[in-house]
């Protein structure tokens, strides 16, 4: 229901982004939530869309980048939802990318 994480319209010749509602959990939060993204969103934007509902609200914000984990794989920040093959109703986890030794 939030607008966070959605992007602007497609360029010429590109298909219009399609809505992709996801089952998502942010780090140590207590509950999975519904987060709508689009096929054109990058993983950085997806992570921000999930974090919007939780970070600093129920999970204390940390000064690290965030990473989307899908089927156990860490996805690159620039990869789009469409390119990652993420489908509506799929589950993703968003974690802080905490450097080793921190």
């Amino acid at each position: 229901m939030s607008e966070a994480g959605t992007t602007t319209g497609p360029g010429a010749g590109e298909p219009a982004p399609e809505l992709v509602p996801l089952n998502a959990i942010f780090a140590t939060d207590f509950v999975q939530i519904l987060v709508p993204v689009t096929t054109a969103d990058t993983m950085a934007e997806v992570a921000a869309a999930v974090a919007y509902h939780v970070e600093g609200k129920r999970v204390r914000a940390l000064p690290y980048d965030k990473v989307v984990i899908y089927h156990g794989e860490r996805l690159p920040a620039g990869l789009t939802v469409a390119a990652a093959g993420i489908k509506p109703l799929d589950h993703i986890t968003v974690e802080y990318d905490i450097p080793e030794g921190s």
Binding site: M1, S2, P21, N23, I25, T28, D29, F30, V31, Q32, I33, L34, V35, Y52, H53, E55, G56, K57, R58, V59, R60, A61, L62, K87, P88, L89, D90, H91, T93
Partner: protein, 506 residues
Amino acid sequence: MALLKREEWQGFVRDVDWSYRYVDDEAVYPEWHSGTGKVPREAWAAWEESYKVSYPEYVATQREKEAAAYAVKGALQRSGVWDGLSEGWKSATKMHFGGAAVAEYAAVLAELKMARFGLTGAWRNMAVFGQLDELRHASITTFFGHEFIGRDPQYDWTQKAYQTNNWVAIALRNLFDAMMSSANVVDIALQLPLVFETGFTNLQFVALAADALASGDVNFANMISSIQTDEARHSQQGGPTLEILAEHDPVRAQWVVDKTFWASARALSALTGVSMDYYTPLEHRKQSYREFMEEWIIDQFIRTLEQYGLRKPWYWDEFMRGLDVWHHALHMGFWVWRPTIWWRPMAAVSPDERAWLTEKYPNWEKVFGDKWDVIIDNVNAGNVAATLPETLPWLCSNCHLPCCNATQSRDGTWRVRDFSLSYDDRVYHFCTIACRQIFWKDRSGVNHETLVDRFLAGRIQPMDVGGVLGYMGLTPEVMGDDPDYEAWTRDYQGRPAAGLVPAAQP
């Protein structure tokens, strides 16, 4: 003329089983309603209730119960008792009224189904008393809740809640439709009288009665205690049914008992667990939810299983671990999504309350304390808006409660994990492994769509917070909110608080 002894007339007046000349037995007791399955039809003749009652005896006893319950209500109606009750306790009663009043009427229909399609006269006779009991429960619960509508509009949900598309109400209908409405009578007898009424109503009617008395709510304690005396009688339909089914089809008996115990445990962790460990004022709590479950439910359930030659359910370890997690997470869920419920949830996480929770649940701080601390710091920073939801929790496709059950990793951390399956070209998510397993085995049965399913199908318009609240029937005067933020945040004021979201600029 000397009176006949009971044993000389009981069978004659009770066992009304005709020999049909114009139709066969299947026409009168069709399988889809009566559900004899692998049990030979004649085996049901051995069905025998242990506590026998005649209609005149029943009426005389019930009259006394009704007179006593209403006498207490009449005496207290003009007193100031209600005004002195805590908001937390009032929330426990609103939750009960809304969750139980119309569900009791659904139980009327279940008892009537057994009264018509039960496979022996003794069973049908007992079910007639059972439906009269449930009719009384529906009436008394509705009437007792109705009294308070003039003082607080949330009590209007006593009758309204179960008939709305509120997510809690959908979860309850999902539970009780499977338990009471859509099943055949053999399964109903195991699901409703045996598992739910012999076991789980103790939670709501015995545990909550004790907390009600301690909280000063004599009227509510009086009402639910009166109801529980009926449960003790008509719940005995379960034992004889299980005895016969377990002898002829133990696999079915085990499955029906297992899945109903699980579904009941999930629902009651939301209703009773939250009421006992959070809404009941700290000084009035008698036992923790876990302690009560262990003493009143688990021991008895294990004894019942052993008595009938059944095994512990396959999910037992997951269930026992859930006693330390489920209701705490659901409490946080009710609190965060408080505009979507018809009571005022107390967060109840002051230092003293957290000390009690930690004493009863040693992992509580590790699993839940960090989230509550961020919420507390936001409230103390004047940013209550940050604690309000802007999306939906994901609801389990089996129990319809939020997917919020953290489990411990090998490294000691607690995380909520995804339990999903793909079926019929879509992905389903579940709160637990057992919910996924039960859904899979029962997938051909009727499954309600969760609120999230309905939202994503576009049936809730507009697709925003206002649209969702409207779909659930919530109006501004009913939507829940914490009744006293300061009560549980004041002791944390002034402490350093990093990592909070900035307050939105007006």
